[in-house]
Symmetry: C2
């Protein structure tokens, strides 16, 4: 039986996703509406995930709180977080108004606790997994009937790319055309089970001063790049069609070519912005070079690089080519952490002749860790809560 002291809780884990068709540019900054559709691969939560517990109780007082990796976050002044909470509460309110027997969770203070299983120092954007977990956990707490697709609209308001982390496998974010953003949401293109052989090797490039933050960078590009309009209007829509077809047909070569071309196109419009934005450095280019060499040696495309708003490389390949792709990097970088676990442990070093000395040296000097992962599933409900039954945060 519930009393006013009852603490309602729901916990979820949510994945990171890495886009192969890049999101770069907002047509509406308040609603996080993009200039173009994008497409990503959801990565396995065995390697990278955010774990979030949403809790509420009639006995909680004061404003909503969020503890992230042990630190209290200022969510009151975060318009984006507030937009998500408001939207979720209104959906709960609809339920409560239809069924008077439901507890009035929508009126109560939320206590949110969240933790990543990967170090912030890894330099990976965690906001996508973070907002996806937040929305999913609260939706579960509120027992909302909305589908992941419907919830993706809410997560998008927190962080654009978060909408793609509400599903597993291969996920498209449709830019949409409505001014209110009601058709700008994520959609599964293919589930994990359709093409589970996809692997991802992430090369973390030694921490440097952080580059231009992505929200600011996107606006600079939208406002100043004279090359960007063609990308938004023609190039990406065409590529979306091609890569969706490639995924449906499990055509890795086409998938790889478009992935690399779209990463290059994104960094090209960054360079074309004013002032120019640089995310790739010589280490990134050495990784591109190693990928090109592996493909040349194989006589076909067996791996593809992609780079987000930073120098880290993400290299996609199929499990059958682990030795030819990841093995090369394991041979070059035996000393860095990350060669363990389900996706890394079995990779044997590949003694490898084709790489230039300069590429080798640049990678050795510049890569500080690797993450061996794979395509994975969507958010998962979990029973381990980061808030105890009395409403206190517990250490993850």
């Amino acid at each position: 039986m519930s009393s006013s002291n009852t603490v309602y809780r729901a916990s979820t884990t949510a994945p990171v996703n890495i886009a192969v068709i890049k999101y770069w540019g907002k047509r509406d900054t308040a609603l996080n509406l993009p200039t173009n559709s994008s497409l990503s691969v959801t990565l396995s939560q065995k390697s990278l995930r955010t774990h979030t517990t949403a809790s509420c109780s009639e006995s909680f007082s004061g404003p909503d709180t969020l503890i992230l990796n042990g630190e209290k976050e200022d969510i009151q002044s975060s318009k984006r977080t507030q937009a998500c909470l408001k939207h979720l509460r209104s959906l709960r309110q609809e339920l409560e108004s239809k069924d008077a027997s439901l507890p009035k969770l929508s009126k109560w203070t939320l206590r949110l606790v969240s933790a990543n299983n990967f170090p912030t120092a890894a330099g990976l954007a965690s906001s996508a997994a973070g907002f996806a977990a937040l929305v999913r956990a609260i939706a579960d707490l509120y027992e909302l009937p909305q589908s992941p697709k419907e919830l993706s609209l809410i997560a998008r308001q927190g962080s654009g790319s978060a909408c793609r982390s509400l599903m597993g496998g291969y996920v498209a974010w449709r830019a949409g055309t409505n001014e209110d953003g009601s058709d700008s949401l994520a959609e599964e293109v293919a589930p994990l089970s359709h093409w589970p052989e996809m692997r991802a090797l992430i090369l973390i490039v030694s921490a440097e001063k952080k580059g231009v933050p992505s929200t600011a960078g996107m606006q600079t590009t939208v406002e100043t790049s004279t090359l960007a309009p063609a990308r938004f209007k023609e190039i990406v829509p065409q590529r979306m069609q091609e890569i969706e077809k490639a995924i449906k047909e499990r055509d890795f070569e086409t998938f790889a070519r478009i992935t690399m071309q779209d990463s290059n196109s994104f960094h090209a419009i960054c360079l074309d912005s004013w002032p120019p934005i640089h995310y790739l450095n010589d280490v990134s280019r050495a990784a591109m070079n190693a990928v090109e060499t592996a493909n040349r040696k194989a006589g076909k495309l067996i791996c593809a690089y992609t780079f987000d708003a930073g120098p880290n490389a993400v290299i996609y390949y199929l499990a059958e080519h682990a030795h030819q792709v990841a093995g090369v990097f394991r041979n070059i970088l035996p000393q860095v952490p990350g060669w363990e676990g389900e996706f890394g442990g079995s990779i044997r070093p590949n003694e490898y002749g084709g790489l230039e000395q300069k590429t080798l040296m640049t990678l050795k000097a510049g890569v500080s860790r690797v993450i061996c992962t794979a395509v994975g599933g969507g958010p998962e409900k979990v029973e381990r809560h980061l808030v105890d039954a009395r409403g206190n945060a517990v250490v993850d």
Copy 2:
């Protein structure tokens, strides 16, 4: 009195030019017709020049020859050189057919000797100055009445950007629209005397393996870059108008902004090519960073970077800002050769706080020499010949 042993000679020097609106892409590879117009600053021959002597004599036999920097070049199999020679001979023939008293130089073997005053190791493209000097020297030998603008059409067939080295000051190469290339030629936008205060500091980045050769790279871009068409059709034509106006009004800030934007746009379409083409490296980016810092400190644009098909930086600035711009680099790079001569000798080192340690270290490690130069005049007829009166090459 002339005999069959008389050696006719003409010698010229011709300048290097560095584009501020870049030529990248051919619409016709045989005729060297570009996808877009371009604009360059002719650099002073006090710093960089090619010296060429054209000679012919009834007594010379065998095929035409060219000795470049002491080495015999294979000009028989160079379609481009042959196109230039054929065109120049036909113009001479017109004169000879109108005036029977003229010696039949057009029928005689040419001996050409050419030398650069800068080391090949400097990594500067010398083909522009080389073809400009070749065409100018032969035109003088043949006493052709054609204007530099008319001759630029011939030099263009040797090397596209060579057409811009037939004039001093600020020179546009009009892309033209005719299929035969008859309207694709260079034109003076403003002479040296209009804006003589323009200076150029060239940072030579330590020799690496040469990147993709420009002719091959251009074709890759034309055939594969999905961003390039907008550059060719809309962006460059607009910039040409803006920068010509800026030059006419001596508006350095506009000149600088467009120069930097167009360099970035060119490298963006290189990155967007498939496979991608990289010419900028971390040293180039450190130079960009130093330029941005100098501009920020000045509160206005007092210098502009531009990069051709390689990592070397060319930095334009006005003489009045020598201390604020070149002085910074002299302070960072006191040990490298090149800080002497008319344009470099007076530059005082500028003790300079604003640069990040990483930028400083990257420049120190990566720049192997500098060239201090300025806007300069067009080709000059000289009396010093590289072929002696008996027709033998002399050491420069």
